[in-house]
């Protein structure tokens, strides 16, 4: 249940401690990318029913950005990693 998020730095915390920034699966376009690329990034969402990757910001805790993998239908949380760690793993 997404009411509780296990922060890798702080442990199990209620979701009220976090703000949610949404989709973490896409990268930000380059500044001079096309209008379409920016429109897509800012406004368009895949909005899946099922597994999704999201940025959750632990505002009332360690203040780190986290990447939470969770199911939007069941609210089950599969994994929580620090956003920097997430990028590191993606680059490997």
């Amino acid at each position: 249940m997404a009411s509780l998020i296990t922060c890798p730095h702080c442990g199990v915390r209620p979701k009220e401690e976090f703000t949610i920034r949404g989709d973490a699966s896409r990268g930000r376009p380059e500044p001079m990318d096309t209008d379409e690329a920016w429109h897509d990034y800012v406004y368009v969402r895949a909005n899946p029913r099922g597994r999704t990757l999201e940025h959750w910001h632990h505002v009332a805790g360690c203040r780190r950005f986290l990447v939470v993998e969770r199911d939007t239908a069941t609210h089950a949380v599969y994994s929580v990693v620090d956003a920097a760690e997430f990028v590191r793993r993606a680059e490997q």
Partner: protein, 416 residues
Amino acid sequence: MRYSAFSLVRNALSGNLNWKPQWRQPQPKPHYDVIIVGGGGHGLSTAYYLAKEFGVKNVAVLEKSYLGSGNVGRNTTIVRSNYMLPGNEPFYEFSMKLWEGLEQDLNYNVMLSQRGVIMLYHSDGQRDAYVRRGNAMWMEGVAAELIEREQLKKMIPFLNYDHARYPILGGLLQRRAGTARHDAVAWGYARGADQHGVDIIEHCEVTGIRRENGVVMGVETTKGFIGCGKLALAAAGNTSRVGEMADLKLPLESHVLQAFVTEGLKPCIDHVIVYGGGHFYISQSDKGGLVFGAEIDGYSSYAQRGNLATAEHVMEEGVTMIPGLSRVRVLRAWGGVMDMSMDGSPIIDRTSIDNLYLNCGWCYGGFKATPASGYCFAHLIAKNDTHPVARALRLDRFARGYAVDEAGAGPQPNLH
């Protein structure tokens, strides 16, 4: 069968055994001129106006569950037109006017109750914002009144005026606003559409959209393939899923909003009261239960239930505003899945596919829009032309830089 005092008496005297079903249960025909996906308020009102106002008779509404199982039967029933932006206010006022004639038009009691909606303010800055909103309403010809604290105390004595963080300084009142019985709205439109020849097909889920050379031919459903000339989507919280069947990528996120109802009380709350400090809103139903809700749960969700932390937060807000609420028992709570758009305003438009039409993004404010949404969507489908009051609500507004951002929250759906 038309309803009247006479029909009531006649049916009462014959033991209520002769009432007819309110709509037929037809089998799908192989082909319709227009298929509407979604038997919520908007799908049904679209079908009704298509048939009645625009003469398009060969229409089907496909609903995956039973009629009214979606948000039309899950909302807190508030009907108002106290918006600020020029793209929104004429649209919601058009809806308000349709509400005011709806019972006569449908010959159906939707229990429209114009008890007044008052939005409270707690700071000078918020007061200024509400004065501005009131003025914006007057400029569209819609009456609004600023009620100062002392006057408000006489009107609504039971509020917590001296809360340390959110003292109540006054409110903006729209007297014509109020509530309607949400189920009856769905049933009334369904009955009206059915009487004009529309086939309402329940328990028929759309599972695919068949296209040939880019043109929509019909839909795959759990009752087989059904062909159509035009396809109109009104699937509320599931629009992204249905849109995906035609490769549409949409500016939507699905979020859950909860509602709560208490045990029945004697009449005690005369208005719809909206707590500007925390987004809490409450009214009393005609049966006596207090109906209330607050903010969305905060993260994307397709579950038609909410989380407990948010329920607790809603209760806290309610008790902050009305301390006496702490002694009332909550009987029921539920959630609804809404598609939150990127600017908090709806979308009524054609899509990049010629005969595919889109009605979505109603966020948590679409119940009040039910009549206007249906009317404008029907206008668009029938004439291929946007209705004048829905011009600002087009899909390409984000790309053009004309978002209709009533809350000023930016492209962050969970903040609208």
